[in-house]
């Protein structure tokens, strides 16, 4: 359980450090005969690539993915798919200073405590670059889901104090602005807020929302492998995430049952619908056929340029000022991480669900 594997039936194992030779992922459990090209994966990676806006680190990385195995003549073979992105600017930096002290808000201290030392170059394994493996693997899951008519869409819901207005919600707007908001006006306010934070040499957090559409009812396992439980793990496993909520989420805590309980109804005595969706598409850990809707809270980027108090490796109290340039917010680049981790979680549970009824197993094998 050393921690770099996620999923059971559709399973990714990621590897790589910020300033090592590369970053990669092995996907095991991908069925045969899924169409897959490097372009399919690259499209997702480009959404988290640095340098695409003024709010991202200018580190030069093309983040080009190579498929090393598991694909033959344009389709998956059923065997493990190995994807690699080589690091290009891994030697660009002087880390002589950073190695001697613990940056506040980073995992420097905890890695040292756990392992006795750490790869101090750019955060090593705890860097945001680790998510490349997730996004590359999740792109495949997203492809599988699309084939089944299921879409996963994440976007920025808020940045600092600026939230989207659902009256202006426009899904096509998400990729039109630098902050991935489905609301053009809010995106401008968010950008203005980010400018101010950057001037203050500070950073900010935000909330990502994600909607899964087209998921049939019945997905998720009761008790521990609930759909929402596995989504929560997937989301909290993303660095900088501090919270997860589904449906009415924390607001449910102050709601009345008569409101929270979504009324079922049917117009045609065939399709089951709900008048509201406070459940967020999940009842008892199992999808109910409505949209699955959840939110993920990200803390501000810990790398800021203000002076900060901390200790060095000799545990002496010192003041530090981090150099270089860093994203003032992780959220816009994290949107695709949320989306792909959700796709992996859902694919895994869709596969697990195939053995839930004996008659369906019989049908499967008697063809």
């Amino acid at each position: 359980m050393a921690g770099s594997t996620f999923g059971n039936l559709f399973r990714i194992t990621t590897w790589g450090e910020s300033h090592g030779k590369g970053i990669g992922v092995v996907i095991d459990g991908c069925p045969a005969n899924v169409k897959l090209s490097e372009d399919d994966i690259q499209a997702y990676l480009n959404r988290r690539k640095p340098g695409t806006s003024q709010y991202t680190t200018p580190r030069k990385e093309s983040d080009s993915v190579s498929i090393l195995s598991g694909v033959f003549e344009g389709v998956t073979t059923g065997c493990p798919i190995s994807l690699v992105v080589m690091n290009e600017s891994q030697r660009s930096h002087d880390y002589s200073e950073i190695k001697t002290y613990y940056r506040p808000g980073h995992a420097d201290y905890t890695f040292d405590e756990k392992y006795g030392f750490r790869d101090y170059r750019g955060g090593g394994r705890s860097s945001g670059r680790e998510t490349i493996g997730r996004v590359a693997g999740g792109a495949i899951a997203a492809n599988i889901l699309k084939d089944l008519g299921i879409t996963v869409t994440a976007y920025t819901k808020s940045i600092g104090p600026v939230s989207i207005d659902y009256d202006h919600f426009d899904i096509n707007e998400i990729h039109n602005n630098a902050v991935c908001m489905p609301d053009a006006k809010a995106s401008q306010e968010a950008e203005a807020f980010l400018q101010k934070q950057m001037e203050d040499m500070d950073s900010t957090g935000g909330v990502v929302e994600c909607i899964v559409h087209g998921l049939p009812a019945g997905i998720g396992e009761p008790v521990f492998d609930k759909l929402d439980a596995n989504l929560a793990k997937a989301m909290l496993s993303i660095g900088a995430v501090k919270g997860f909520e589904i449906g009415s989420g924390f607001e449910a805590a102050s709601m009345a049952g008569s409101i929270q309980n979504d009324a079922f109804y049917s117009e045609d005595q065939k399709h089951v619908l709900k008048k509201t969706n406070y459940a967020g598409g999940v009842l008892g850990g199992i999808s109910d056929g409505s949209d699955v809707v959840f939110r993920v809270a990200f803390k501000p980027t810990p790398s800021i340029f203000k002076k900060q108090e901390t200790i060095n490796q000799n545990k002496e109290n010192i003041e530090v000022q981090i150099k270089g340039r860093h994203d003032p917010i992780v959220v816009p680049r994290a949107v695709v991480v949320v989306e792909t981790m959700a796709a992996i979680t859902i694919t895994d549970l869709l596969f697990a669900n195939m053995t839930s009824q004996m008659n369906k197993i019989k049908e499967f094998y008697q063809k």
Copy 2:
């Protein structure tokens, strides 16, 4: 991954339905030589037992636990521990009506979709009684942690609109009131609010907070098996939970990095401390030696006595009114579920951490 197993090295597998013969758990991976009696476990089960206050269902269950294996002469043997609680009032009810329709807010519909039918007696496997296995198994984990100087304490932070006041925080108060609040005054307001909800034939939700004290730095695996990721899964796997947050949680999304970043310091050049704990004790998914602090949002009990709209199994729109008597809130009885699930998660990761450094492994085997 059928879903009834949680944990890797310290692992529980639960079984049982609300109105079946009993409920139980098998704990595998408990080390040998942990002192354990039925009383140790019963003490935890009594905290979730029904009928202890006017806010819990009057269902008569003594919830007495039997140890069937894995304990010899008062200590654990290292072999699996089987714990059973027999159901006493499992035939007390008429379910002829409930089996024909889908209760809003419950898992009736989703179980039918997943399995083709359901055990309709009291919710079957999706009942809150399922948590008996968790609490019984978690009591052992809590015992192990105590032996290592680690305590896990959960309590009610809010019920509906009523929150505790941290200025009046008194940990000894938790078990002195029916709602498990560490604040006597708030508990009275909460009880008044619950009375009102009951009169309205409605229910309410609430928030449970949990503090882990004494956990050494270095616990948790990077990437997917982060301490907070595994806690999030553990919490969302509890029925009725809609959200999880750690440290500053959702507030982090609107905080500045200069605030969220906890400054490290040391007074004696030996112990590492933090001036604040917005991280909630976890950096990069690994414990930092501060208290681990997280919160869990519970939705209102879905069983309410108001009339509700829903559909029956023929997918006809109907109105229903649920009979019997149910808890107007799940939170007070869920406090111990949060506490024990946290204990299991932490024990599991403490064990996993033992192989993180080669020199410690050598020391272990060279004695």
Copy 3:
């Protein structure tokens, strides 16, 4: 990985000691809507029950199974199935002597080394009674396989020097003799040999063979979860097993490739057949549609009545003579253990195989 769970999608977790309160198993991942009664399971348990012939210990145990969960109105619900067999004669014995020394060929010494002490009553968890959980769980797997047209049949191939003669092979004979041989004449010789061993206060070993018929081609995962690899683990996990071979097995080591390679042919251009089956039904770890045929070697019962040299807990050299009465051979009672463990392994891989092709997944979900 504490060791008491086997299987991934169809998964059993066993518990219990020889002289504890009982023995049991939790089956997780059984699909809903499998017909199941206590009688279905009891039929398998009766085949390993003690006291059915003069070659088994006369310990009095009815080994009656109770289903505590997961079955509703005669069919499985998809939720975990808990099965329990209470021990009846667990206090019948004086173990004051046995606790002080290490019986040769038993796990007394290794348990003490692992755990620091042991439950010395009748071998505790290392007793053959541990297999009750396997057989009970495996009975369900066998039922599932029957429903899919797959049969698993194990029998005694040899006892000491006495082997069955394939010219006299009669599958109906298996349950007609005390040693479970499909050859009446060989069974008589085997019984005579056993009588001699008993007179000599000694014991003997034997080989169990198992045939899986009706398994479709394509089952088993490439690389580590090969059908034969998982069967090998399943078999070596049975106490007293010292070897496993499939198809031509160890003889393959001295065969020519031109013989070992089974020629494929077809009579109707539809069904694929093989002229021989040296492969034992598995190519590259995946079933080829032929019968799966494997053999398992059992060592002699370690409990013998001859004087033996050993050490006591103070590591002094001593001579011991074990009292009581024990089976002079484990094989006849182990036949059903081999059969049920094979059933579990195959069910698990049949389930895993359902996600191997994208077009089949699409078909599954688009109905």
Copy 4:
């Protein structure tokens, strides 16, 4: 459970096909601070490299390994280690013929049945080249074990009818001859036999034996994760393996208990010894401190040059004659695969064993 991951705490995930871009492995769970260089791994890979004798395929592959992650300044970091060997001669061949029919003894047919088609280039994932990932990952495990004073040594015990003579056993001879036999005279006879098989356009099988020395008593988990059960799975997961036995193995089936039971004794009242080792170092699935000794049977190479009967993809009966040149035996190159898979299995169980006693856990955390 798609099958390309082995191990729990020390875990390898392999990927790659015979004629894809490369072959690799991700090792997760390697502790921090293990010295590791590419040379350490290359030394093991060179032992399975093709072209080192006349009995191996002349395919040109340097099999040079690159470490892409998890190692920093010469030691492991505790994070996943990604190892890659690029294929050099992957485009050297014409597979237009082989893709139309099923080679006897190969996995062509079973892959087609499982996945609907196959990567037909050189066997794809079912090729012996897949073992590169195992050997590379296992080299790290072997390094860890050496650090703990544990050695794993495999060698050829027999090739076709030629077996080593234990009276001439010389461990230093293993790497002195082309067939890896610890007996110079037997190796010459084996080579002569191989020459004859090659002239006959045929192939042969053989047996590999493996000895683990220095393993402390207490390793292995009772019930399913027995040391011998996990070794059996590890070995049968190697392509071409048809049997596994430990200690007296299949001979145990015809032995008397009074012989099979190894007598314990002690010369100094401190160290526990056994007069014989028919157990092969394992009692009840747990190591007993003696050498662990097991044997693995390999079938003859299925690629032979004799004419063979088979079917094509239209299921027509045809005759084929395989071209190219192939190893007439897999055993000499498989020796290092057996050795490294054993090293992985044992490392994994050594790590698992660290949580078997509460007092040792307390000691670990109270330093």
